[in-house]
Symmetry: C2
Subunit: 374 residues, 2 copies
């Protein structure tokens, strides 16, 4: 099905297969010799074909952020799945169905009431459920600290349970996104590991085996040194990369594997802008680079012969991207195809239901579906 | 199919049918006696059932922002469709198919080259194509001003064309979103009308009939006085309303018809927050209220007995909403259902593939599909 991108309807999502593979190889190199497993996070990709490539160098386990993703990947043959958002009782049934269908599903917990409810549910159903406790290593979002009384409470509730096993602990160093030096990121990574290991040891002291200490984010995994006690790493955006990650110094613009193909649809040269058909829906309204050293607005436009540092999407209406255009150059003719590098690829990809997969020459070689919703 | 919202999987979109109907009645009242037609914009709703209610008090024509919407609404029986984003040659074929299937489709133009191409295309195909010229009344995005030489050029290219008819002009006063007083909005509306009428008159002086002067945005339509020369108004977000529009003084929070139903999934009280399962995907990353008098972060959470002015979604990770929670009140238990009022409903709705339609009592009475993509 090889064909040129010019045959595609815009806006749409392009995925460079060579870049994807390089990014996946790169994280494998970063992890080699650390003696820990790697469990790719598929929340960015939401695509079975990408998942197969991403898991190939590793043990086969994946991370997801919704039960819909868990169900989709289970349907596509993945059997070791970590659902890395805190479980609530209303979702026990869907989780149970996955477990009954043979998925080695891990659930996340940080609340004693939910731990109690899950234990009762699993007992009633005769299920064997595996959980990780969510740890807060940096105040970024939620979870348990070593001194949080809920850690002990959950430990006690599940001690000796015949139905719910604490596999260990999990944390996500979201604060690493606020760092832009290798040293800053590494110090977050060290803290992430230290806090998680401490919590796992508390659980072990209570009598749980809790063998797993799972940490990770793209910055901390890529720049990490070995962390004693850490058994598993997770990351997701590393496969695709984006402008936010490039601003953190973790990749070049050429490493970004996912772009939005868009058409020039207008000229407003008296306002120093051109218009493209990738707006707030196709790019997302994520302003992740807004507080970084280099602000790319809603994305950076690449086109032939144009310095890509200046053609920023300064505003995004629903179906219009407003692109900064200096007054002197002749604008690209209406219909010119451009590629927009995303600020935050997880958000940008979400509006699109497929990837058009490209080869080294930039031609389309395949079309991969991606899922959305909950 | 009447059932309680408690049976829904979260996050999902709720649409209050009574509020929708009130909002639709309200704009009809605002327009009554103005002697102009109203053509609802369906880019926010993307749903045939909503379109039927919205067009019912008017002449039946609709506005859309993508050809996919045009095709979808045509399939659902709508035959008078304005595609209000500048056409490019790559989309001529899809547009032609709609016209050949009997749709009275209007296309938008602001570029002489495209006008030439369209004329040649329509001639070659023996099509009768109707266009509006896009006018820039406020520097907000793009379009032609009365003194822009492109206005004359396009007028000349299409004068006497047997295949492309200039129906008139169209403008969208996007700058009205920057005003927050009735006077400010009304002055934008007056300018919008004045510039558009002036451009239409230029076309008429050239020999075009150009009967249509189409203007509009939710603020300018709701607060408008009659504008001599304006024949058609457009607006879209008025059906649903959102926090951005309430900050403009155009509605109360109770008027907002679309909310995101979400579950409380965690407590992080030491950080003064609770967690909900509506994050950046379910709410969008639109920060539209960020520069307004009252900043609602990524949305405002409503729950029973809670003052809704304080429970703001301060941060939105992919599947986590971080909600401000003061230290003194007991937090809502895990699993509590909340509703999030959206910042910008067009963006928020886009991640969801259906509306759960609720009645006055808040029970679910129907499920309406919505489309996405291009």
């Amino acid at each position: 099905m090889l064909h040129a991108v010019a045959q595609l309807e815009t806006p749409c999502l392009l995925l460079s297969l060579p870049r994807l593979k390089l990014n996946i190889e790169r994280i494998s190199s970063a992890l080699s010799g650390q003696g820990a497993r790697f469990r790719p996070h598929l929340k960015s990709a939401k695509c079975a074909e990408v998942a197969r490539i991403a898991t190939q160098p590793h043990f086969g386990g994946i991370t997801v952020s919704t039960l819909k993703e868990a169900e989709y990947f289970a349907d596509n043959g993945f059997t070791d799945i970590l659902y890395a958002v805190a479980i609530i009782p209303a979702r026990f049934e869907r989780a149970a169905k996955l477990i009954q269908n043979g998925v080695r599903l891990q659930l996340l917990l940080d609340d004693p009431t939910v731990a109690n409810d899950l234990n009762a549910f699993a007992k009633k159903r005769g299920l064997s459920v595996h959980v990780l406790l969510e740890i807060d290593s940096d105040g970024h979002r939620n979870g348990l600290t070593p001194t949080d009384p809920r850690l002990n409470e959950i430990g006690h509730i599940l001690l000796g349970s015949m139905h719910v096993t604490i596999d260990g602990v999990l944390t996500h160093a979201g604060e690493s996104y606020g760092e832009d030096t290798a040293e800053g990121i590494q110090s977050i990574a060290a803290m992430e590991a230290e806090v998680a290991v401490k919590c796992a040891e508390k659980l072990r002291n209570m009598g749980h085996t809790a063998p797993i200490v799972s940490i990770g984010s793209t910055p901390t995994v890529l720049l990490n040194a070995a962390n004693p006690g850490v058994t598993e790493y997770r990351a997701g955006v590393y496969m695709f990369m984006d402008l936010f990650q490039s601003n953190l110094g973790l990749c070049s613009h050429d490493d970004i594997a996912v772009t939005v193909l868009s058409s020039v649809i207008g000229h407003a040269l008296s306002h120093n802008r051109i218009l493209i058909d990738a707006g707030g829906l196709a790019l997302s309204k994520d302003r992740g680079t807004g507080n970084q050293a280099k602000d790319y607005g809603y994305g950076l436009v690449r086109m032939a012969n144009i310095s890509s540092e200046t053609t920023i999407v300064t505003d995004a209406n629903q179906e219009h991207g407003l692109v900064l255009w200096n007054g002197t150059d002749a604008p690209p003719p209406i219909g010119t195809l451009v590629q927009v590098l995303p600020n935050h690829v997880c958000m940008t990809a979400s509006a699109h239901n497929r990837y058009y997969v490209t080869n080294e020459q930039g031609d389309v070689i395949d079309e991969w579906q991606r899922i959305s919703g909950w």
